[in-house]
Symmetry: C2
């Protein structure tokens, strides 16, 4: 939390996106008996999965075990996760009238199970470690709603944005207000900071981001003004200075930009999180160590830096490489 | 060609990646009777397909109708294109010893059919229009060889790079020397300029690009020193200044960077090509016109600029939007 506030820390704090997941044998064991969505909806188990990972890795923060798409069910989308194929959202939004059937969440009680995951995880967590809540960002969630699932290029989303700017704005507004209540609910349930995942925003040009995405994102973060926020995007480093305008406490950066350049571009008035390429964790401990040290040296003791990957841990990652990463960060003397 | 040399032009020249392709009814008609690879290997037809597109759109350059992967067949890879699923390369390279079975092309005569496409297209083309030859870049081709086809993340490629740096260098060397001969052959057959497609390079960090990709790419372009070259990459604008170091005459940029920022970052000693998001062509003529004018205004009469997309035309693109784009570029008065 000191790093989030850009205060000096004795060592660089580290946590890893998707630190509890398929790469870990303990997680695969749990999943033998329960589906992914069911696990997310079983607070005791979801908390256990994360607490086990935090314990095993020795990271400096937990994040709730959940999924960015769950908020879309009470908003009116029908969601299924098929093994291997990823999420499917039925009846994707393709016309302005489709937006009418989306409900803005005035009441977030249908997401009580997420708040329960927050509380369960918080209760089981070392008091010194912060718990991170999260949601998808308005753009990334709108993208799933319009595509009907994952996508490489988000062409339907772009087409919708260009052709129906008013309906797009309406959709982003409904998402923004719902997400603000949802994230506040997570903080009320025990989270210290929230991360907003704009995982697919990198498909956009700067002009499109400024016009179609920044206003809603800024509004979301403004509604959370009193809450520490991490805004994470991937895929286009050119967006970083625009993303900063959204006003979060921390900006999450992927590996496409050199961390020294990211620090320079973003300036000293925002904290930074990232940016090791998760593919490096597929190699060997010695390579992981070198690439991790590379980043730490470039950070050069900057206040307001949180070590993380540039995206989530990949399922095929050997656990020992992740342990090596955490040990390397913790063994690094910030003031040397 | 004047724009390639950064000399003043009366109007902004324009051509479009994948300007002959599935979005065009004439192309779909041709493909009713012939497979994709067979079409590439039938010079008369391949030339016709491109000449028809150039004629219909009124663009200022032709590019040979071919595929970046064809060069890999005589190098020892077995290649098939399955409808819908994209290319498949059998026996992908996964260990250093796999690189041994790859042949460096001392003799490019197995690719004579490509040179014949060049000559046929050149003969049918208006003398004032340049013909562009092309190949994949060493990294992008190595990526296909290691993944065994297309990929979103190029994880096997990165793992290979990190674990087997010597074998990687050897593979890049074989590709570089083969591609230099191949591209020179295209120029000898009648091309005026060659484009090197590094379509997937954007998955890399700046550090990895500098270490694993830039040296080979630089060497390739050095071997073509007397030939005008366009080096095109997509997916990570942070790489642009490094890509410039490879030494091409023109840098192709995607839509992720604002064109004004690209001009500033790349400086005045290299020509620039790009950068409209091809997704914009899925919208409506009025939107296409506005977004095209936006770019032209930002270019602001810069010498050494070629209008293009940031990636190839998408199959579902309405032809009238492409025509609108070309008309808008040609109607724009550079010196206004």
């Amino acid at each position: 939390m000191r790093a989030v506030r850009r205060e000096p820390t004795a060592r660089v704090p580290v946590w890893l996106m998707r630190q509890a997941g398929r790469y870990m044998a303990e997680y695969r064991d749990v999943r033998k008996n329960i589906g992914f969505v069911e696990l997310c909806k079983t607070p005791r188990l979801a908390a256990d999965v994360m607490l086990t990972a935090v314990d095993k890795l020795g990271v400096d923060a937990a994040i709730i075990f959940s999924d960015i798409l769950l908020v879309l069910e009470p908003m009116g989308m029908s969601l299924t996760f098929s093994a291997g194929d990823g999420p499917v959202l039925e009846h994707p939004l393709r016309t302005p009238s489709d937006v009418e059937r989306i409900t803005e969440l005035a009441d977030v009680s249908p997401l009580q199970f997420v708040f329960d995951v927050v509380t369960e995880t918080r209760c089981g967590l070392d008091q010194r470690l912060p718990l991170i809540g999260f949601s998808g960002a308005p753009f990334t969630l709108a993208g799933y709603m319009i595509e009907g699932g994952g996508s490489n290029q988000f062409l339907e989303t772009k087409r919708f944005m260009y052709r129906y700017p008013d309906a797009w704005e309406k959709l982003m507004g409904k998402l923004t207000n719902s997400l603000a209540r949802y994230l506040r609910g997570q903080v009320d349930a025990g989270a210290q900071v929230v991360q907003i995942f704009d995982s697919w925003v990198g498909c956009l040009s700067c002009g499109d981001y400024s016009r179609y995405v920044l206003p809603a994102t800024k509004q979301l973060i403004a509604q959370l003004r009193d809450i520490p926020t991490i805004y994470f995007g991937t895929g286009n480093p050119e967006l970083l200075t625009l993303m900063k305008q959204a006003g979060s406490s921390v900006i999450g950066v992927d590996w496409r930009i050199d961390i020294a350049a990211a620090c320079e571009r973003l300036g000293n008035d925002v904290a930074i999180q990232g940016n090791l390429d998760p593919a490096i964790l597929l190699s060997e401990p010695e390579i992981v160590r070198n690439k991790t040290l590379n980043i730490l040296r470039k950070i050069n003791g900057r206040d307001g830096y949180i070590f993380n990957l540039g995206h989530g841990i990949l399922p095929q990652t050997p656990v020992e490489n992740v342990v090596t990463l955490v040990e390397t960060v913790h063994g690094y003397n910030v003031r040397s």
